[in-house]
């Protein structure tokens, strides 16, 4: 689906055709869920947060002006929804010390699918902000500017988070490199 087609679906939703929203959900649900899971770390809660984010996006679709990519706008909603849920639960994101305590195990010989899961788990074990930045940058191909818009972090801060996350993953995934 191209961006123009996407705009057609957005216009249809604005005109009251709610069924057009299913195309948007199908296109973005995996990445939205990945972001939520990296932040909340509980699959069921992450799915609820993703669902809540899509409903918020649907309700606020008239406010999307098209200045940024739709995905950037949507993932901003996902990120803020997850932050709000974490604040309500008073769940603190994993800090560096806790992360370092989890860094003791090195991967055994893994097959391709297992390797992907192992890397995904290693990313999930990063502090929440670093996990999100790495996920958006590598798994979704977002630029530093886009990540800055989604997370509200300054561009230099995004670069710092990326650098720190890379260093930790290099150590964690040394057995695969």
């Amino acid at each position: 689906m191209t961006i123009n087609n996407e705009q057609i679906y957005i216009n249809r939703i604005r005109d009251g055709d709610s069924s057009a929203f299913s195309f948007i959900v199908d296109k973005y649900k995996n990445m939205a869920y990945t972001i939520a899971l990296k932040m909340i770390r509980d699959p069921a809660a992450a799915e609820d947060a993703t669902q809540e984010s899509f409903i918020k996006a649907y309700e606020a679709i008239d406010t999307y002006k098209g200045n940024a990519k739709f995905s950037t706008w949507l993932y901003t909603i996902v990120y803020r929804t997850c932050l709000s849920i974490l604040k309500q639960k008073k769940t603190l994101p994993l800090d560096d010390e806790e992360y370092n305590n989890r860094m003791d195990d090195q991967p055994p010989a893994l097959e391709a699918s297992e390797q992907s899961k192992y890397i995904s788990r290693a990313i999930s074990e990063l502090p929440a902000t670093e996990a999100i930045v790495i996920t958006l940058y590598y798994m979704n191909g977002n630029s530093v500017r886009e990540i800055s818009k989604i997370t509200g972090l300054s561009m230099p801060n995004v670069k710092i988070q990326l650098y720190r996350a890379r260093k930790k993953l290099e150590h964690k995934l040394a057995g695969l490199l």
């Binding site: 939703i13 005109d15 009251g16 709610s18 069924s19 929203f21 299913s22 959900v25 199908d26 649900k29 995996n30 990445m31 869920y33 990945t34 899971l37 992450a46 799915e47 993703t50 669902q51 899509f54 409903i55 649907y58 309700e59 008239d62 390797q115 992907s116 890397i119 995904s120 990313i123 790495i134 590598y138 798994m139 890379r166 993953l169 290099e170 995934l173 695969l176 490199l177």
Partner: protein, 109 residues
């Protein structure tokens, strides 16, 4: 860099298979409020008003051609036709209010 390549191979997580259905079922109803005056009627009214103004100007012009432009304006202000202006303004205001209220209702409903 090998780490970069490795990170790009990671697959996205997937929500449950019926995730889309669950979201679609949970969507609130979007009420699209229609304006009281349709677009077509609005344009017809606007065209009527424009025609009236045009007619007024044409019918007033010949009797005041020998006067200065200032005198022409004063002559128009003192004519009965000038009474039409508040009516034109009122109709325009109603049209604007109707569309503004429609936009606000759609945004906050």
């Amino acid at each position: 860099m090998k780490l970069d390549k490795l990170l790009k191979t990671v697959e996205q997580d997937q929500p449950s298979a019926d995730f889309t259905r669950k979201v679609m079922n949970a969507l609130p109803q979007r009420k699209k409020t229609q304006p009281l005056i349709s677009k077509k009627t609005g344009w017809t009214i606007a065209a009527g008003i424009a025609a009236c103004i045009g007619l007024l100007l044409i019918t007033n012009t010949p009797s005041t051609t020998h006067q200065s432009w200032m005198s022409q304006i004063f002559a128009l202000l003192h004519s009965d036709y000038f009474l039409v202006i508040p009516i034109v303004l009122a109709v325009s205001l109603i049209l604007c209010l109707d569309y503004s209220l429609q936009i606000l209702r759609n945004r906050f409903s």
